[in-house]
């Protein structure tokens, strides 16, 4: 979409917003639509296990009305096999090769299962999918996923739904430094500053859902994230000052007599 000089390019597709929105947890369809509009997002992810594309008047109609691209996801899958079968369901129903791959290890943490994730990435790439791999904040695993053919890697800031922010900024920075595919910070975002930090660390985009859909005022929070992602992106490319031990007056001549 036009209107920005800084598009996000993934798999040859240009997106005007670097905020990707999830749809889970919204109290009403209309409220979700308003929040998505306020966020400025052009890409939304939908859990194939929770929403049927066949139901009229549903979430998918809403996204179509708003002209938003859909990124189907495999939320709720615990094995590579389930994830592949769910991805195939999404490709058939939504006619897209894109899939956000989630393979979860256990209910308590909802953390990605590294071994199943690798297996599923390999299988889906072989089947011609464009894989957005939701992964741990592990720089080694992120690189492996890229080498296996993932089109984007999506490290978590913190476990899904926790709102704890970015628990290991150092690792996120390392993932960014070594990746040649887009890095999308996914999961754990609680408030706007978390998203700004992700962009300052060099991430190409941020994906979040709960932080908006379960906020008391989702529309206001969505706008906050739109601005935060933009602010973080600008700051990341503006050459920040180094952190110093000692104070340094912003104006060198301040307080001196002009003799």
């Amino acid at each position: 979409m036009a209107g920005t000089a800084d598009p996000l390019l993934i798999d040859g597709v240009s997106l005007g917003s670097r905020l990707i929105m999830g749809t889970g947890g919204a109290p009403s369809l209309e409220g979700l639509g308003e929040a998505l509009r306020a966020s400025g997002t052009e890409l939304t992810t939908v859990a194939l296990r929770r929403y049927s594309p066949q139901t009229g008047g549903s979430l998918f109609d809403l996204l179509e009305t708003h002209g938003m691209r859909v990124l189907p996801n495999t939320a709720g899958c615990f094995t590579a096999r389930e994830a592949v079968m769910t991805a195939e369901l999404g490709r058939e129903a939504l006619e897209t090769n894109w899939v956000k791959l989630e393979v979860i290890a256990d209910e308590q943490t909802l953390l990605p299962d590294a071994v199943e994730l690798v297996d599923a990435t390999e299988a889906l790439v072989a089947r011609g999918f464009t894989v957005f791999a939701y992964t741990n904040d592990d720089p080694v695993l992120a690189l492996r996923l890229e080498q296996l053919g993932a089109a984007a890697v999506m490290p978590l800031g913190a476990p899904i739904g926790t709102g704890l922010g970015i628990l290991n900024p150092h690792n996120i920075g390392l993932i960014v430094a070594r990746a040649t595919v887009p890095v999308v910070l996914d999961a754990g975002i609680g408030t706007a500053s978390d998203a700004a930090l992700a962009m300052e660390l060099g991430c190409d985009a941020v994906l979040l859902a709960t932080a908006v859909t379960r906020a008391q005022d989702p529309v206001r929070m969505a706008e906050a994230f739109k601005l935060a992602v933009r602010a973080g992106r600008l700051a990341a490319s503006a050459g920040r000052i180094p952190k110093r031990e000692h104070a340094l007056a912003s104006s060198q001549s301040a307080g001196r007599a002009d003799l």
Partner: protein
């Protein structure tokens, strides 16, 4: 004001259609109620919580006036059904709301501030106080709130009572409505799928998710199925009384409720799924039992006697489609009640009956107009 006696056809004998039909009968109208399988949809599954306070949602506070009004109408509504001799399962013990982990407690405490700011009564209890009231609540919960104004009814019994009240006073037609009969911008009756028809001065469309499929409907009704899994369990004699009040909880962010009935059963619900699957979801049953057991550990000692799935008629803004369609005479719409059909039955019956009596629509009900999303092309 003289009220003309009119021929009224009501399509749909779920809880809303039954309530509207009964109120119309009481106002002196001649009513035909049309449904091939009465009270077998969402009404059969519903837990029957009458909970305007604990159901308050952020950004949907504007609906509170309607839900509260209906809750206040309930005692009189129930009293007037007493002469049918059929129990309704109405209980006014209040509701306990529990939060499991500290974040759940925080969410409920924030919500309480919003509830109190709307003049609603929510009292914070210690867990020990909550457990003195309901000793089978486990010690793991971190927060407890008492909502004295949130009550319950048994929707199956209530539907039976309404049916008894209608028997002999209305015509009950076990047929399937296929469409409306429209003559010059006026709905004049109902066409049935066997080729017969019912003439009516006024037709009430109250058949939930079936409404959009009615032929010649002069408005597009944006209802979609939001499936829910719900369980019924029997309490063994040695564990009675299992609970004496409704217990709702937030369990690591997931809502769950346990509603004790006077007959020694407990209703545990409910999931919300838009996956298009009509069968009971194994994952849904697992999630309900898992979360309920976190709040009340003895849940696993109960007999699981029924698991059921039904679809609720959801609307884009979660509010009902209730009232007349502009420019169309002879038609009243009452569908899209989503999760609140049982709670809203008395007020919906009154609003519909007022319209049937010829009263103009009240301005405060404009937010529920069935054509508020546009009239559409159907």
């Amino acid at each position: 004001m003289t009220k003309p006696c009119r021929d009224v056809a009501v399509i749909g004998a779920g809880i809303i259609g039954l309530g509207v039909a009964w109120e119309a009968v009481r106002r002196g109208h001649r009513v035909t109620l049309i449904d091939p399988s009465p009270a077998s949809g969402a009404t059969r599954a519903a837990a029957g919580m009458l909970a305007p306070v604990s159901e308050l949602q952020y950004r949907e506070e504007r609906f509170l006036e309607l839900t509260r009004e209906s809750a206040l109408l309930y005692p009189a509504f129930i009293d007037e059904l007493a002469n049918t001799g059929v129990e309704t399962g109405y209980r006014s013990e209040g509701t306990l709301v529990l939060g499991l982990d500290p974040a759940d407690r925080l969410v409920l405490a924030d919500l309480r501030a919003a509830q109190v700011s709307h003049g609603l009564t929510v009292d914070e209890l210690t867990i020990r106080e909550a457990r003195r009231r309901e000793p089978l609540i486990g010690p793991a919960a971190t927060g407890a709130f008492l909502v004295p104004g949130d009550h319950q009814v048994d929707p199956r019994q209530l539907a039976s009572a309404l049916f008894s009240a209608l028997a002999g006073n209305a015509r009950l037609l076990e047929g399937t409505a296929s469409g409306l009969i429209v003559e010059g911008g006026r709905v004049t009756g109902v066409a049935l799928d066997d080729g017969s028809s019912v003439s009516a001065d006024e037709t009430v469309v109250a058949n939930g998710l079936g409404a959009p499929a009615l032929a010649s409907l002069p408005v597009a009704l944006p209802v979609r199925p939001v499936y829910g899994d719900i369980l019924r369990l029997r309490v063994p004699a040695h564990l009675r009384p299992f609970l004496t009040t409704t217990v709702r909880g937030l369990v690591r962010g997931n809502p769950v409720y346990l509603v004790p009935r006077t007959d020694g059963t407990v209703v545990i619900g409910a999931t919300q799924r838009e996956d298009g699957r009509r069968a009971v979801s194994a994952g849904g049953v697992y999630q309900l039992l898992r979360d309920a057991q976190q709040l009340v550990p003895a849940v696993v000692e109960l007999d699981l006697v029924e698991s059921m799935c039904r679809a609720r008629p959801g609307t884009p803004d979660n509010a009902p489609l209730l009232g007349r369609v502009s420019g169309v005479e002879g038609l009243v719409v009452a569908t899209g009640f989503f999760r609140h059909g049982v709670l809203l039955t008395p007020v919906a019956a009154r609003i519909c009956a007022d319209l049937l009596d010829g009263k103009p629509a009240a301005p405060e009900h404009n937010a529920y107009r069935p054509d508020r999303f546009g009239k559409g092309s159907s």
